[in-house]
Symmetry: D2
Subunit: 438 residues, 4 copies
C-alpha cells in the first residue's frame, strides 16, 4: 500500500449497488433516506457518527471521521439492487418487517423507486429458496457475468452516478471450497464459459464488478471474492475488495469478549453458542449445507484470537460449539445465548452467560453503509485489492496470502483508524503516553 499523493475528491453521485434486496438492504436504504432528512439517527455507523483522535491526548483534536477523510455525503448516495423476487424497495421492506410503519411511510416513495434488476440464481446453492425474478435466459455463467455488467452500465447511465460500489446483501450459499477453477484469472474465465459447477452466483457478481472496476464487499460467508483469481483481477483492475460475512450479533460479541479474556490471560475451557432467528436468513440456514458455510465462518474467530499454539495452558483444549436454529417467533429479531466456561488463578473454573437480544438487519445496515463509503474512499486513494483494514466489519476478514488476519475487534479498530491517519499524514496512535510524566 502506498500513501497516496493525492486523494480524488468525492464529487458527484455515488452509486451503491446491493445484491439481494431483503431485510438488510431495505433497512440500509430506508435508513439512509431517513438519516439524510434528519428523521432518524444513523446509529452504528462509524462513517456517520465516528470521531478520530489526533495528536497528543491533551490537544483534544477529535474531528469527525467523515470530515477528516472527506467521505462521500449521504446526500450523494443513489441505490440500485438485484433480487430474485420482483418486489420494489417499499414492498420488500414491509415484508422484511424490520422497521416500523411510520418509518417506512416517511420514505415510501424513495424506497418504492428502487426496482430490483433480475438476479443471478442457482438453485443448488440456495436449496430453501425459489427464485422467481431471475436471469434464466443467460446461457452460460459467462453470459450471466455479461448480463450483470450490462445492468451495471445501465444503472450508471440512468442514475447519473459518477462512481459506483457494490455490496453483497444476499443469502448464504451452500458450502463450497476454492478449487482449481478459482486459481487464476484464465482458469476462472474458462470455468465461466464451461458453466463450472463450482462457480456460484456470488462469484459471478464479483467477477462482473471487478471487470467494471467497482469496489466490492461480500457480506455473506459465501466464497465470493476471496479466491486467487478474484484477488488477482482486483489488483489488475485497480479495484478494492473486502470481505467476508458481516460481523454482527453473537460473533461480534465473541470478538469483543475473547480479547478481553486473553488480555487478562484468563483461560477458556468451553464456549457454547446458540442462536435463534426467524427471518429468511434463519430459514436458509436451516439447510445443513448452507449452515456449514456459516458455521465455518463463525467457528474460526476464537482460535484466531486466542492463539492456542502460543498459549497451550490457557487455550490448548477448549470445546467450541455453534448452533443456529430457525425459530419463527423471533422474526427479524435474532437472539444469541453463549455459555463461556473460563479458568482463572490455579485453574479454578468460572462461567459467563451472555444473552443478546439483537436485530440482524439493524446491526448489519450501518456496516453496509460504512463499507460503501470506505470502499469508495479507498478507490479514490488509489488502493486496490484486499483492504485488510476493513476486516473490522467481517466475521472472516480477508488478508494477504500467508497472513493471519486479526479478529480482535479492538486491533481491527486501531488498524482501521491508523490507516486513516497514515493515509492523511497524521501521527499514528500508540497509547504510550510517556510524555505526560516527567
Amino acid at each position: 500500500m502506498q500513501r497516496p499523493n493525492r486523494i480524488e475528491p468525492a464529487t458527484g453521485k455515488l452509486g451503491v449497488l446491493l445484491v439481494g434486496m431483503g431485510a438488510v438492504a431495505t433497512t440500509t436504504m430506508a435508513g439512509v433516506f431517513l438519516a439524510r432528512r434528519g428523521l432518524a439517527p444513523p446509529i452504528g455507523s462509524l462513517t456517520q457518527l465516528g470521531t478520530i483522535r489526533l495528536g497528543r491526548r491533551d490537544e483534544r483534536r477529535m474531528p469527525r471521521i467523515q470530515d477528516f477523510v472527506a467521505l462521500a455525503s449521504l446526500d450523494d448516495v443513489v441505490f440500485g439492487a438485484w433480487d430474485i423476487f420482483p418486489d420494489d424497495g417499499y414492498e420488500a421492506a414491509k415484508r422484511a418487517a424490520v422497521l416500523e410503519g411510520h418509518h417506512l411511510d416517511a420514505v415510501r416513495d424513495e424506497l418504492a423507486a428502487v426496482k430490483p434488476m433480475k438476479g443471478v440464481f442457482y438453485q443448488e446453492y440456495v436449496p430453501r429458496l425459489r427464485g422467481v425474478h431471475v436471469k434464466d435466459d443467460a446461457r452460460t455463467k459467462l453470459d450471466a457475468v455479461e448480463r450483470v455488467r450490462e445492468d451495471i452500465r445501465r444503472f450508471k447511465r440512468e442514475s447519473g452516478a459518477e462512481r459506483v460500489v457494490a455490496i453483497w446483501c444476499g443469502s448464504t450459499e451452500t458450502f463450497t471450497a476454492a478449487n482449481g477453477v478459482h486459481g487464476s484469472i484464465e482458469a476462472f474465465e474458462r470455468g465461466l464459459a464451461a458453466d463450472d459447477a463450482a462457480i456460484s452466483a456470488t462469484q459471478i457478481y464479483a467477477w462482473a464488478f471487478l471487470h467494471e472496476r467497482i469496489p466490492f464487499a461480500n457480506g455473506a460467508p459465501n466464497l465470493g471474492v476471496d479466491f486467487a483469481a478474484a484477488e488477482l483481477l482486483a489488483k489488475e483492475t485497480q479495484t478494492p475488495i473486502a470481505g467476508k460475512d458481516f460481523k454482527t450479533g453473537q460473533t461480534l460479541m465473541k470478538t469483543v469478549i475473547a480479547p478481553g479474556l486473553k488480555a487478562r490471560m484468563i483461560g477458556l475451557r468451553g464456549w457454547y453458542s446458540t442462536n435463534i432467528l426467524g427471518n429468511r436468513d434463519g430459514e436458509v440456514l436451516d439447510e445443513p449445507a448452507s449452515f456449514k458455510t456459516k458455521e465455518q465462518s463463525k467457528l474460526g474467530v476464537l482460535d484466531a484470537i486466542l492463539e492456542p499454539e502460543q498459549h497451550p495452558i490457557l487455550y490448548g483444549d477448549y470445546h467450541h460449539k455453534v448452533r443456529i436454529d430457525y425459530y419463527p417467533p423471533r422474526g427479524d429479531a435474532k437472539e444469541g445465548w453463549d455459555n463461556i466456561d473460563i479458568a482463572g488463578w490455579l485453574g479454578y473454573p468460572m462461567q459467563m452467560k451472555l444473552n443478546f437480544l439483537c436485530r440482524d438487519s439493524i446491526l448489519a445496515a450501518p456496516i453496509v453503509l460504512d463499507l460503501a463509503l470506505f470502499l469508495d474512499w479507498a478507490q479514490r486513494c488509489g488502493y486496490r485489492g484486499i483492504q485488510e483494514w476493513l476486516g473490522f466489519y467481517f466475521k472472516s476478514p480477508m488478508a494477504a496470502p500467508g497472513l493471519q488476519p486479526d479478529h480482535d475487534l479492538f486491533v481491527q479498530l486501531i488498524k482501521l483508524k491508523n490507516t486513516l491517519r497514515w493515509t492523511v499524514g497524521e501521527d499514528l496512535i500508540t497509547h504510550l503516553g510517556h510524555e505526560y510524566y516527567d
Copy 2:
C-alpha cells in the same frame, strides 16, 4: 518518563508486603507457592503467562513478557502481611474458603509461616468489622506510620529481601474525599501528628511505604495514595505508585463490552448492574458508607469510556445503576448480572444480558502478583510516581493531574505493552500493517 539507560537486575529476594490477609492475599500467596512448585498454573497473570509480539507480524517474535523485561522470578518472592485478625496464613486461607483443601494442604507449611503483623485500624472507616489484632498502642497517626515503618524494616531484616513492594489487599473504607490535609507533604505530616480524622489506615500505610521507598499499589477504592501529598512524596522518594481498586468481575467486563459497543458506534440507553456476593467483602459493603466508596469507583468507568460529550446522540443520556447485595449463599463466589439496553441503526432498541459467575479472589490474586512484579521492575527502571501504564489492573486508574485516565481495557493493554517495548527499545506496535500489501 525517561527511557532508562540501564535496568537494575532482579537479583536476590523480592519481599511482597500485603496489607490485609484475607481471601485475596491468602489466595495470592497459596497460588505463588503452588505455581512455583508446578502444582497449579498461575492463570490470569500476564507476568507469568503473557507473551509480547515484537516486530513485523510475519517475524513471529513472541517472547514471554517475564523474559522480555527480566521480571523477578516467583522463586525469589517472600511474603509478609498485616492483618487485624491474628490467624496465620493457613488458618486465614481456610477461613476464606476459596481454595480446595488439597491445594491448601500442599502448601500448608509455607502459608502457616506467614504470621500477620498487627494492623492499623480505625473503626469509623470499617464499621462492619471489629479488629482484634491492631496497633492500639500507637498514640497518634504519625506514630502509627512510624510503627509500620519499623515493621517494614524488621521484615526486610528477617526475610533477607533485597527489594520490597507492597499491595493493599484490605477492606473498603467508608467514603472520604481529599481535603486540605491531603494537599501537600507538610500538611499531611501535620495532619498525622494532629490525628486528623480525614486520614485513614490506607493512607498511613501508603505514607510509610513511600518514606521507605517501597512501591505501592492500592487494590481497594479507598483514598490511599491518590492524593497530591502522596504523589509528591512518591516523586521525591523516587517511588512508583499505582491504583486504585482491582478491576475484576463485573467492572472488568464493563471495560470490555463498553469499548466494543463504542467501537461500532452502538448507542447506550441504560446499563443496570447488580452483584451478589457472600464473603467478608460483601459484608463490609453492606454498610452504605462503604458501598458509596465502591459505587463511585464502579460508576465512573462508563462515562470515561463512552465520552458522552463527544457522542451525545449515542451516550448523551443513558441510565447507569450499580447494585451490590450481600448474599451469603454465594460465599467467595461472586455473581454479576448486567442488563444493557442498547440502540442501533435509526435508534432501534436491543438488549444484552450478562451473567458472570465469577470468583472474587481467583480474579484478584493474579493482579496482586502482576502488580508486585511490575512495580519492582518499574523501580529498577528508575520510574517514579504514578505508573499510568498499570491502569490496566484498576477500576479507578491513576493518571497525571489534569489527564483523563483510559478505562478501555484494550487501550490499557496496548499502553502497558508499548511501555514495555519502549523501555527496552523495541518498535511500538500500531497495527497499521500497510507493508504487507504492495
Copy 3:
C-alpha cells in the same frame, strides 16, 4: 360459605369502578373495548378464555368458565374511575405508553368518554406524586368517604349500571400497619371523623364501597380492606371483598417455581430477586417507605409456600432478598432477574436463573377484569366478606382470621375451580383416578 339455593342472573349493566386511572386501568378498559369488538384477544383472563373440567377424565366435559357459572358479559360492562390527574381515558392511556397507537385509536372514543372523578389523595402516603385533581375540599376523612359515596351513586345513575364492583388500580402507599383504629367498625368511624393519620386513601374508598355494598378488590399492597373493621363491615353489608396486591411478574413466577421445588423436596439456600421497571409504579417505589409496603408483600410468599418449620432441612435457612430499582429505559416493560440457589440429593448445590421480560399492565389488566366479573358473581351467589378462592390473583391473599392463606398458584387454582364446581353442584376434582384401572 353456604352453597346458594339460587344464583341471581347477570341481567343489565355491570358498572366497574377503577380507583386510579393509570397504566393498569387504561389497559384494562382499552382491552375490554377491543375484545368485545373482536379486535384483540383477552389473553390472560380466566373468565374469558378459561375452561373447567367436569366429571371423569374420559367424559371430556370442558365448558368455558363464563358459560359454566354465567358470568356477566363484556358487552354489559361500563367503566368509571377516579384519578388524581384530570386526563381522560384516552390521554391517560397514551401517556401510559403500554398499548400501540393503532390499538388506542381503534377505541379512542370509548376511552375518551371515561372522565376521572376527583381522587382522594394524602401526600404523606405517596411522597413521589403530586395530585392535581383531588377532593381537597373534603373537611375530614369522614367527609371524604361521603364524597366517594356520592360519586358512586352519581355513577350508578348516569351509567345505568344495575350492579357495581370496584377495583383499586392506584399507587402503592407508604407502609402502615393496622392499629387500634382499624379494630372495629366504631373505632374506624371515629377515626374517620377525627382525621386519624393511620387512615389512608385506600381505606377511605374501601369504606365507601362497603357501605354502598359494592364488592371491592385491592390491587396494591396497601392496607386497604384487610383489617378487622373492614372485614366486619363487609359481612354486615353482605359484600364480598378480596385482596391484596395483584400477583404479576416475578412474584407470580415465584409462586409457580417454589411449589415446583417443594413438590420434589428440593432444598432452597437462597433466592435473590431484582426488578427493574420504568413506569410511574417504579417511580413511586423508588421511595423507601413505599417500597417497604411492596417488599413485605413480595417477601412473604416463599415462607408461606415452603413452610420452613415443617421442612427445616430443606427450607430452614434460606436467604431471600428482593430488590426493585427504578430504571426509566424500561418504560412499562418490567424485567425481573432471579437467582435461585437450590440443594439436591445429599445437599449438592445447583442454581437456577430466571429472566422475565414482562409487562406490568399487560399482566395486570386481565386480573382486573377477572376480579370484576368474579366479585359480581360472588355477590350474586350471596357470598360475603373475604373470598379466599380469589387469592389466586394476589401476592398477599386474604384468608379468614387465624388461617394461613395458600400462595401456591396451583393450590389456588384448584381452590378457585373447585369453588365454582361446588357452588354449581358439580363433583370436586381430586385427580385420584383409581377408577380407570381395574
Copy 4:
C-alpha cells in the same frame, strides 16, 4: 384399582436391582449409604423428607409420608446391579465424578461390595458405547431373559432380600416404536425365541422382572415396559410397573412453568430449549438415533399440558424446539437454557429465559429411591400393572390405554398424594375450604 383390605408390612430386606451402574445408580447407592448413617441428607426424596397434609387445614396433621404409609426403611435396602463395564460400585462412582471424594470415601466399602452382573447389550441400540462385560454367550434373546432371571434368583439368595424391585438406570437406546411383536404375550415370547431385532435390552430385563414378579420402573425413554405385551404380563403376574424417562432438569421445569402459564391463560408462541451436558449420557445422545428417542420424550410434555385443541387462541400455534448438545466441559453438571415467548393481554408479547445449572445424577438419584420404595409399597397393597400415580417422576408417564396421562407436575403430585390418602382411607384433599367461612 381396589382399595386394599390389608397392606402387607415391610418386613425383612428390600432388594433394589439397578440396571446400569453409571452416574445415576452409583449416586443413588452412595446416597442411601450416606443418608442411613446420617452423613448427608436425602434431599429430593419425597419418601424420605415428604409430609402429607391430612384433614382440615387447621388440624395441622402433617405426618411424614414414610410413616403414613409405612414404607420400607433405608436400613433394609440392599443393592444389586448389572453393567456392561466390570467396575465395582466404588470405581464406577469415582469415574462418574458426581460426588466429592470425601463422600465416596466415607462409604467406600459398601460401594465396592456392589459388583455388577454382566449386562445384556446390543450394539445397534447404543452405537456410542462398547460393552465389555456382557452376556455374550446368550444364544437368543429368550436365553438372555433366562440369564437375567437366574441373576435375580441368585441375588435374592445371596442378599437375603425378601422382596425385590428393579429400576432401569441405563443408557438411552436408539429410537424404536412398538410393532406386532410387542402386541401380545405370545408374540413377544415368539420374538424372544426368534431374536427379533425390535426387542431391545430394556425389554429383556423388563420381561425377566415381570416373570419374577419384580416391580419395575424404566428411567430411560427407551421402549421398555410401555407396550401391550408387558402391560398384560404385569397384570397377569400381579406386578406394578412405572415409567418412563426420569423427569429431571429442563423437562421438570417445563412441567412446572407450563402449568403456571396455563393457570393464568397466558399464551405461548414459542419455546426454545437447549441443553448442554458432558457425561456419558451426553455422549450417547450425541448419536442422532439415540437423541430421537429422548427428543420424543421431551417434546411431548407441552402439548399434553397446554391442550392446544382446547385453547387454540393461546396454544394453537407455538413453535417448540429441543436441543441437546454434548459439551464435555460440563461433566455430570447439566445446563439448560430455555427461551419462552409468551403472549399476554391483547396478544402483547413477553419473554422468559430460564437458565438451569443442574446436575443430572443429583436430580435423578432421589427418584430412583422413591420409585423403589413406592413400587415395593404398591406391590404390598396388591396394586398391579401401570401405576399412573407414579407419573410424577417421569417425562413420559404411562397411563391406561386410551387415557391421556397428566404431565402437569402439580396435578401429578395431587394424584400421588390422594392415592396415598385413599389407599389408607383418609379424606381426599380438594382445597375447597368453604368450611372456614360462615
